[in-house]
Symmetry: C2
Subunit: 188 residues, 2 copies
DNA sequence: ACCTGAACACCGTTCAAGT
DNA sequence: ACCTGAACACCGTTCAAGT
């Protein structure tokens, strides 16, 4: 039983992601995940060291894409154009096909993530990205604006409640509002 | 033992708020709370129907203050001045003395709150407030902007990392950035 | 290599019982 | 009215054991 080409690890990731997003991380028990897979709770521990490790497995490639962005930004001049490119790139990785599922998981589980290692790493990257965005203007105003730029990309997923809107349209709107915020940051 | 003028209920609220903020709602056990109070786990159930009910007790007056704001806004013209007053009032209740502890609890526990009744109510009020803010301009762009206005007030607590900044300064910066966003919303 | 069965300490909740 | 003691089903995790 339970078709699909082996890959129990991958099947655990998929089922867990779905349940974590639907019901939240804490409210989803390993028993539930195991039952859906027709497997024992203990079996999960062969593939993952802990419940938290399942979450970490989603975050890894996301983290290193953010690292790449941060590194790239460091070598660029602190201009409007750089900031625009940075945010645009960030939105691209956030709205990449296949990533939208993970996106909704993050939106649903921000707080739990704070206590998990993966969440702290994501949080740290967000601060560094924000710092990269307001490079050359370290006023509190610029810090807040830079943070809201990232939020604009994130929150377009739920804040825009227009029915039948496509992901591309969400992204476009997010970038427009983000750009306005960027214009308030001084060039150095 | 355990001084203070009786009021076990109030002492539970205080200790729980502290622990929930420090360690998060899910990671704080009722045993921990009970031990700090020199009381039994079961005793908590005399004062609160459940763990969730403790959280609800923080949210109640906050909810009705938001309701008042929403009701007030409904009867006002959809002008820049109304929107400014609305956000300014909202920031006042958010930064009210004594509320900053509750504020940090919310910041720390957004996600858990989503699955709790109290959280869903707060979420619903936030959407309604956002709708009130972009009254007269129901474009997706305006919706996103209005949501970010509320986030500006909330996130000034952690996004601004300037050392030794006062709560009043945070509030001032939040309102400045919020006002810029408001200016992008059309008057009807 | 991959999984099971059974046990571990802990969790939120209930309830009869005590004062 | 206010609290205790003991039990309940459930949780994440471990580990010896099976194939």
């Amino acid at each position: 039983m339970s078709q699909s080409t082996g890959g129990t690890r991958e099947r655990i990731q998929a089922v867990a992601l779905e349940l974590f997003t639907e019901q939240g991380y804490e409210k989803t028990s390993l028993r539930e995940i195991a039952e859906r897979l027709g497997v024992t709770k203990a079996a999960l521990y062969y593939h993952f060291k802990s419940k938290e490790e399942i979450v970490n497995s989603y975050v890894e490639d996301r983290l290193h894409r953010m690292d790449e962005l941060i590194d790239w930004a460091r070598d660029q001049p602190a201009t409007r154009a750089t900031r625009h490119a940075l945010v645009s790139q960030y939105a691209d990785t956030m709205f990449a096909p296949g990533q939208s599922v993970v996106m909704r998981f993050f939106e649903q589980n921000q707080t739990v993530l704070k206590s998990l290692v993966a969440g702290q790493q994501m949080r740290e990257r967000m601060f560094r990205l924000a710092d990269a965005i307001c490079q050359g203007d370290d006023s509190p105003r610029a810090q807040l604006r830079a943070t809201l730029v990232l939020f604009a990309v994130h929150s377009s997923w739920f804040a825009v409640r227009t029915p039948d809107i496509t992901d591309d349209e969400r992204k476009k709107i997010a970038l427009e509002v983000a750009d306005e915020l960027l214009n308030g940051i001084e060039e150095s």
